[in-house]
C-alpha cells in the first residue's frame, strides 16, 4: 500500500515476471524509457500495449508529458469498484425511514424471484395496495396450507404494519427493496452476459461430495473454475467440464458458494487434452451451451414464480370468502383465534 517503487526494485520485479536475468531486465527498461523519451522529444506519441499512451502536450510552463492508461490497465486498477455504478441520490430520506426499511428488510431471504411481481408496480400507491393484498394472502394462506414456506418474506413484512402510516412506510420499503433487487438481478445478468471472468469471480464453491476418492479443489476468489482448469488440465477453456461435473450440486455455476470443494473430473472422462485443438474447440462449444442453458433456466423460473404468486393471490381471494363464511358459522371465537395463529 502506497509503496514507492524505485528503479532497481522495478528491474527485479520485471525480471521475475519475465523469468529473465536482472541484467537483461535493467538493460531493457533503460532502453525502453530512453526510446520513449527520445520519441517524445521528437514530438511523437508512444503507445505501449497493455500499459497506455505517452504523449506531449503544451501547458502553461511549456511541453509536458501526459499519460493515458490503456483500458486494460484502467480496468484492472478499478476492478474493486467495478460493481458500482453512478446512482441518483434520493433526497429527503430520514434516518427513521431507513430504520423502517431495515426492519422490513431483515427477515427477507435472498430469494430473488420471489419479489418479481412487486417490482412491476412501482408507484407507491399501487405498492400499498399490493402490500395490503399480500397481508390477506398471509392470513389466509394458513387455510390452504401450502406455499407458505416459499414466501416467508410476505409473512414477515406483514407482521410490522399495524397502522396505515406504518403500512405506507412498508410500502415504500417494499418498493425500494424491489428496485434494489431488480438492479441487483440486472447487474448479475449483464455480468453473466458480457464478462464471464467477472461472473466467475462471484461463483464460489460447493458442498463436498460425500463419497468417492476423486480429486477436489477448493473454490476461492483467487482459485476459480478458470484457475482450476488451468492447473489441472493445462488450459482454462476446460472450466466448463468442472462446472458440468458439479452440476448436480449447483445447477448454476455462477452461484457456487465460496470456500468449499468442487470435484475435478479425470481428464479422460471428457477427453480433455490441452494440446489438441479439437478438444479445446469442444470445450468452447460445451461452455457456450452451458451458458445458454443456465441463462434460459433462470429466465423461465422467474415467470413461473410470478405465475405461482398470481395463482396464490387468486386462491387467497377465494379463501377470504371461505374464511368469512367460516367465521359466520363458527361462533366460537376461540376457534377463530386458533385459526389465525396456526
Amino acid at each position: 500500500m502506497k509503496e514507492k517503487i524505485a528503479f532497481p526494485q522495478l528491474v527485479e520485479l520485471v525480471a521475475e515476471k519475465a523469468s529473465t536475468t536482472s541484467r537483461m531486465s535493467e538493460l531493457f527498461l533503460q532502453e525502453l524509457f530512453t526510446t520513449i523519451s527520445q520519441a517524445l522529444g521528437k514530438g511523437e506519441t508512444v503507445k505501449i500495449k497493455g500499459l497506455g499512451t505517452f504523449k506531449t502536450e503544451k501547458d502553461d510552463d511549456g511541453k509536458n508529458v501526459i499519460f493515458i492508461p490503456d483500458n486494460a490497465l484502467a480496468e484492472a486498477v478499478n476492478a474493486p469498484f467495478a460493481q458500482f455504478k453512478a446512482v441518483e441520490l434520493c433526497d429527503g430520506v430520514t434516518q427513521e425511514q431507513l430504520d423502517e426499511i431495515d426492519a422490513a428488510m431483515q427477515p427477507e431471504p435472498v430469494a430473488e424471484p420471489a419479489t418479481e411481481p412487486v417490482e412491476a408496480v412501482e408507484p407507491v400507491q399501487d405498492v400499498k395496495q399490493e402490500v395490503e393484498k399480500e397481508e390477506e394472502v398471509v392470513e389466509i394462506v394458513e387455510v390452504p396450507q401450502q406455499d407458505e414456506a416459499t414466501e416467508p418474506q410476505e409473512e414477515a413484512s406483514v407482521d410490522v404494519p399495524k397502522t396505515t402510516n406504518k403500512r405506507k412506510w412498508l410500502a415504500i420499503a417494499a418498493g425500494i427493496a424491489a428496485i434494489a433487487l431488480v438492479a441487483g438481478i440486472a447487474t448479475h445478468y449483464i455480468k453473466n452476459g458480457s464478462n464471464e471472468t467477472v461472473a466467475q469471480a462471484d461463483s464460489i464453491a460447493a458442498p463436498k461430495p460425500a463419497a468417492a476418492p476423486v480429486v477436489t479443489d477448493t473454490l476461492r476468489n483467487d482459485n476459480r473454475l478458470f484457475d482450476m482448469a488451468q492447473r489441472h488440465y493445462g488450459d482454462q477453456a476446460f472450466w466448463v467440464y468442472i462446472a458440468l461435473e458439479n452440476q448436480q450440486q449447483f445447477p448454476d455455476y455462477h452461484k457456487i458458494p465460496k470456500g468449499s470443494a468442487v470435484v475435478i473430473p479425470p481428464a479422460e472422462k471428457y477427453g480433455i487434452n490441452s494440446d489438441s485443438k479439437q478438444s479445446l474447440k469442444k470445450a468452447a462449444k460445451a461452455a457456450a451451451e452451458l451458458k445458454a442453458a443456465t441463462t434460459q433456466k433462470v429466465e423461465p423460473e422467474k415467470d413461473d414464480k410470478a405465475l405461482e404468486k398470481k395463482e396464490l393471490k387468486e386462491k387467497s381471494k377465494d379463501a377470504v370468502d371461505k374464511k368469512e363464511d367460516l367465521e359466520d358459522k363458527a361462533n366460537d371465537s376461540g376457534r377463530k383465534h386458533h385459526h389465525r395463529h396456526h
Binding site: F7, T20, L27, S37, G41, G62, V77
Partner: protein, 92 residues
C-alpha cells in the same frame, strides 16, 4: 510510435528477438497493473513517476436535470514527468 515500432526498435538496439521484447513489455505492464492496484507508485529516473491515485466517491449535480448523483470511487493512473526530462523537453 506504435507498439510494434517500439518493439522493433528495442529488439534491434538490444539484439534480442521480438518475442523476448514482447515478453518483457508484457511483464512490465503486468508489474505496473499489480503495483498500481496496490496504489503504489513507480518511479523511473530521468523519466517520471507512474502513480495510482484513489479518488473517493463524490456527489455531483447534473446541471441539466438538477439530479444529485453519487459517483463511485475510482483509481486513476497518473503520470508525473520528472524535472530533468521536462527540462530536456523544453530545451530550444
Amino acid at each position: 510510435m506504435q507498439h510494434k515500432e517500439l518493439v522493433d526498435t528495442l529488439s534491434k538496439s538490444l539484439g534480442r528477438s521480438k518475442s523476448d521484447i514482447n515478453k518483457l513489455v508484457e511483464a512490465l505492464s503486468n508489474v505496473v497493473i499489480e503495483r498500481c492496484s496496490e496504489l503504489d507508485s513507480i518511479s523511473v529516473p530521468r523519466f517520471g513517476t507512474i502513480d495510482a491515485v484513489k479518488h473517493n466517491e463524490t456527489v455531483e449535480v447534473d446541471e441539466s436535470t438538477g439530479k444529485r448523483m453519487l459517483l463511485p470511487p475510482r483509481v486513476e493512473v497518473e503520470f508525473t514527468t520528472s524535472t530533468v526530462f521536462k527540462k530536456r523537453l523544453n530545451q530550444p
